[in-house]
């Protein structure tokens, strides 16, 4: 059932027919710019590893470059319990923040990620984003 989801089959049929009659071509279109937003990518897993948070920003859709990394931020991963995990930026890979020691996430624990000293919009003022709580459910993603 999962492989042959009806919707997917229908889409395939329609696609097959369209492929017979349609053509594709690369085109140039102009897209607007929007203000930069901070992009936070990270996960707490139940593996005993150094946990990583990667900070970058959005960019123009057709910027066609690696996404700008956010360096020099303060990132702290904490959870219910005595231990905090202030993350350190990896000197070889700006924008990548790692916990100093390996640890294992536990299902059912709430983790809080605090990020501060970030200047995403490059106006010279560093701001923080308040920590957001993530409850680790079964499967361990946070």
């Amino acid at each position: 059932m999962s492989r042959l989801h009806p919707y997917r089959i229908a889409a395939l049929f329609l696609l097959a027919w369209l492929l017979m009659v349609s053509c594709t071509e690369r085109i140039d279109i102009e897209l607007d710019s929007t203000y930069r937003r901070l992009v936070v990518q990270g996960a707490v897993t139940s593996d005993s590893v150094r946990h990583r948070v990667f900070l970058s920003t959005t960019s123009d859709y057709f910027s066609n470059m690696a996404s700008p990394r956010v360096s020099g931020a303060q990132v702290e991963l904490s959870f219910e319990g005595p231990e905090d995990h202030p993350c350190r930026e990896n000197p070889l890979f700006p924008g990548l923040y790692e916990t100093p020691v390996a640890f294992r996430g536990e299902v059912g624990t709430t983790y809080v990620l605090d990020i501060s000293q970030v200047d995403v919009d490059e106006d010279g003022q560093k701001r923080g984003i308040p920590g957001r709580k993530h409850h680790a459910g079964r499967g361990g993603a946070g």
Partner: protein, 774 residues
């Protein structure tokens, strides 16, 4: 009993109107060659402004003071007939009009052209006779009613090649499409490239886009009234065509001369025959076709009673050895016309409409599944037209329709395990009554007023979910079979006025309120067969539309040139849209995906039509905007509706160079459709993801296209009934690459790079068709 009540009523009101002592001239207006009733034929008294129009069944009635009159009967493309009568009693006069090319000697051609567009009360409505539609260049040579409608002002194509259309900013599902009074739920074949209407079986098409008559309703934006031919009453006839993609054959004739006639029509495409030529097994094993069957029988019992039965059956098949997709409509209409008196015409209709789709793998296959969805309408309607005097016509009636919608039944087998899941079924009943009147007040002023009272009930068995403000289900209520559990009702006033400065100039105004209780769950503009209609419910309020329009109509060059400008403003409330990334298919909690707001549409429509014997052409231009305002979509900011195209232009020309050769062309230009495109991007785990900032905030490049066609008719010889013609057409003649969809592709060689890729459907599409009749 009913009859005597009605007679009594008629008598009372006729006394009130002081129409006593008058006599009635009535009858049917028919085509001389086929005996087909001519819908909308004009009946007028010479040298007066008194007149009427034959109704949907070709019937007319005029009540006049006793005296001598010359009555002129006229219809587009037909020679007029004048009859001198002495009205000293009620007279029944059935009149036959000949097509101009078959002129008979005794027919007098009236110098006057009909000025119906100026004098009638209709704003925003257009009648397209099938003869006009046949002249327009057609995609793959398949003459298509809906493609012709799309060339009228105020009508937007929803996407390239689609049979969907948007009227004055309304959605695809806001058009009531009736085929012999039965609702057609999906008028598309092959994802919309063809409509279900086989032009050989169609007699008349009329689109109402603003001022929908009070006798029709249930959709906000428009009524497309398609009438099938009755079948030739005079002699056996056949017509058909052999085309690039499809062939057609229609047979019609009398069973009992002048009493019973029949029509059967069939059409089938054979794209799959071409697929067999492919060496690729994945392609040549495909079955891909659609079929249409139309049938009709009508029986003139006597002067007062006629019975019609008509049916349509259509099916699309898209299958190979591994899976198949089947869908189609089926309609049945049984009608009985009865004259209680010459002044009181009535029609009683029973209809059934059915739409289904079925998607699955063959039975016995290792991963068997089947997904079936269907909906059925069962309806009854009684409609009365009363002609007390030439100045007043009244129409009233009642209807009831029961809807049964089964959104999905899924059956799957894997090994020994069989799973079935059934989405909640929706039953509902809509019914009501209506009344409307047309009154001519003096030489220059006429009015139409109507009121429709519609009621809607949800009927069990059903499960209704309760949602909190985050659209999470908090509770559910179960209703038993046959239980009425939710009721909506409301009045729908309709009003129109015409002030004629002269027979060439008039100004018209109208107001209409419409209510819609059943709608489509769709967030694509192209439309797929896998669509789900859902009714109003405790969670979904009926949609409402209020529209005002104002038009100026003027004819020039002895009515050969018709021009009109109409402006309209339409406010829609309880409008429905869907949240971002809505899951519409196979979702039992569909109502949780709905967001409700308001929409506004306004615009100006220009229509200039020139018609001569050998030349017909029109320009339609629409300048309009349609904006939606939903608190929970687009962060509460207004955004363009999916079919908001500020500029829309169509130019249609058909010219008969000689009796044998004709050429036709149309050119279409419209603003690109609104589109949601990313304004930025971000990267997660190496994937470039789009960042959207607003719904429909971009617009695709403008759409334009030229179609051409040439027709060569065979030589006509006396005594030879066979008439054949070759039609050569080119769709998209200058091969404009119009964007159908726009995708973003991550470059395989350089993953940091993305580019835009457009899909366009057609380059130039040539086609050849041979049409015949005998």
């Amino acid at each position: 009993m009913l009859r005597s009540c009605l007679m009594l009523l008629a008598l009372c009101v006729s006394t009130l109107l002081g129409a006593q002592g008058n006599f009635t001239l009535s009858g049917y207006v028919r085509d001389a060659a086929t005996g087909e009733e001519l819908i909308g034929a004009a009946v007028s008294i010479l040298n007066t402004s008194t007149g009427t129009i034959a109704n949907e069944y070709g019937y007319y009635a005029l009540s006049l003071e006793p005296g001598f009159y010359t009555v002129v009967y006229s219809y587009l493309g037909h020679g007029s007939v004048s009859e001198a009568i002495r009205l000293d009693k009620d007279i029944t006069l059935n009149v036959e009009l000949s097509e101009q090319s078959l002129e008979l000697e005794e027919v007098t051609i009236s110098a006057e052209r009909p000025n119906a567009n100026v004098s009638n009360l209709e704003t925003g409505s257009t009648r397209l006779p099938i003869q006009t539609i046949r002249k327009i260049p057609a995609f793959l040579g398949e003459v298509d009613v809906i493609k012709a409608i799309q060339l009228l002002p105020g009508v937007q194509v929803t996407s390239e090649g689609s049979s969907g259309f948007s009227v004055r900013g309304g959605g695809r599902d806001q058009n009531l499409i009736l085929l012999d009074e039965a609702t057609v739920y999906n008028a598309s074949h092959l994802i919309g490239f063809f409509s279900i209407f086989n032009n050989d079986a169609i007699k008349d098409v009329k689109l109402y886009k603003g001022d929908i008559p009070a006798s029709a309703g249930g959709r906000l934006a428009s009524l497309l009234d398609v009438r099938m031919k009755e079948g030739n009453r005079k002699q056996f006839a056949a017509s058909g065509g052999i085309g690039t993609i499809a062939s057609r054959l229609t047979l019609e004739g009398p069973i009992v001369s002048d009493k019973v006639s029949f029509l059967v029509a069939a059409r089938r495409t054979y794209a799959d025959l071409f697929l067999k030529l492919s060496r690729d097994e994945n392609i040549n094993q495909n079955r891909l076709y659609f079929i249409d069957l139309n049938g009709k029988i009508n029986y003139i019992v006597n002067d007062r009673n006629r019975v019609y039965f008509s049916s349509y059956y259509g099916r699309d098949v898209f299958a190979n050895d591994f899976a198949g997709l089947y869908f189609g409509n089926r309609t049945f209409t049984l009608r009985w016309n009865h004259l209680f008196s010459q002044k009181l015409f009535s029609n009683f209709t029973l209809v059934n409409s059915h739409y289904f789709y079925d998607l699955g793998t063959p039975e016995g296959s290792s991963q068997y599944f089947n997904w079936m969805s269907m909906l059925d309408d069962y309806g009854a309607k009684g409609d009365f037209t009363w002609y007390p005097s030439p100045e007043h016509t009244f129409r009233f009636g009642a209807w009831a329709t029961y809807h049964a919608i089964k959104p999905g039944e899924i059956e799957a087998e894997q090994g020994d395990i069989t799973m079935t899941s059934v989405l909640p079924v929706n039953y509902s009943l809509d019914n009501g009554v209506y009344f409307s009147g047309e009154s001519v007040l003096g030489e220059k002023f006429s009015l139409r007023y109507g009121l429709r009272y519609s009621m809607f009930h949800n009927v069990g068995e059903s499960t209704v979910y309760e949602y909190n403000e985050d659209y999470q289900v908090t509770d559910s209520i179960q209703y038993g079979s046959g239980e009425f559990f939710n009721f909506y009702h409301g009045l729908e006033p309709r009003f129109a006025a015409n002030y004629s400065f002269s027979d060439k100039q008039s100004i018209k105004a109208s107001y209409a309120r419409t209510r819609q209780y059943i709608q489509l769950a769709s967030n694509s503009s192209a439309g797929t067969p896998l669509e789900i209609w859902f009714p109003s419910s405790p969670n979904v309020k009926p949609q409402l539309s209020d529209q005002v329009s104002l038009g100026y109509f003027q004819n020039f060059l002895d009515h050969a040139l018709e021009a009109s400008v109409e402006v309209y403003y339409k406010k829609m409330s309880n409008s429905i849209d869907f949240r971002d990334h809505a899951q519409l298919l196979l979702n039992p909690r569909l109502e949780g995906e709905i967001r409700v707001g308001e929409a506004t549409s306004y615009g100006a429509e220009l229509y200039v039509k020139y018609e001569q014997e050998d030349f017909t052409g029109w320009i339609s231009y629409t300048l309009s905007r349609t904006i939606r305002d939903f608190p929970e979509i687009n962060e509460g900011n207004p955004y363009p509706a999916p079919y908001d195209k500020p500029h829309d232009l169509a130019l249609v020309l058909t010219y008969d160079i000689s009796p044998r050769w004709s050429v036709a062309a149309n050119w279409i230009y419209s603003s690109g459709i609104p589109y949601t495109l990313p304004s930025g991007r971000y990267v997660v785990a190496g994937n470039i993801l789009p960042l959207y900032t607003g719904r429909n905030e971009y617009r695709l490049p403008a759409y334009h296209r030229l179609d051409l066609s040439v027709t060569l008719r065979g030589k006509q010889k006396p005594g030879r009934r066979w008439r054949g013609e070759w039609n050569l057409s080119a769709y998209n003649a200058y091969a404009r690459k119009n964007i159908w969809t726009l995708n973003f592709v991550q470059d395989a060689a350089n993953p940091e790079e993305t580019y835009a890729e457009m899909t366009y459907l057609f380059s130039i599409v040539p086609a050849i068709t041979y049409n015949f009749k005998f």
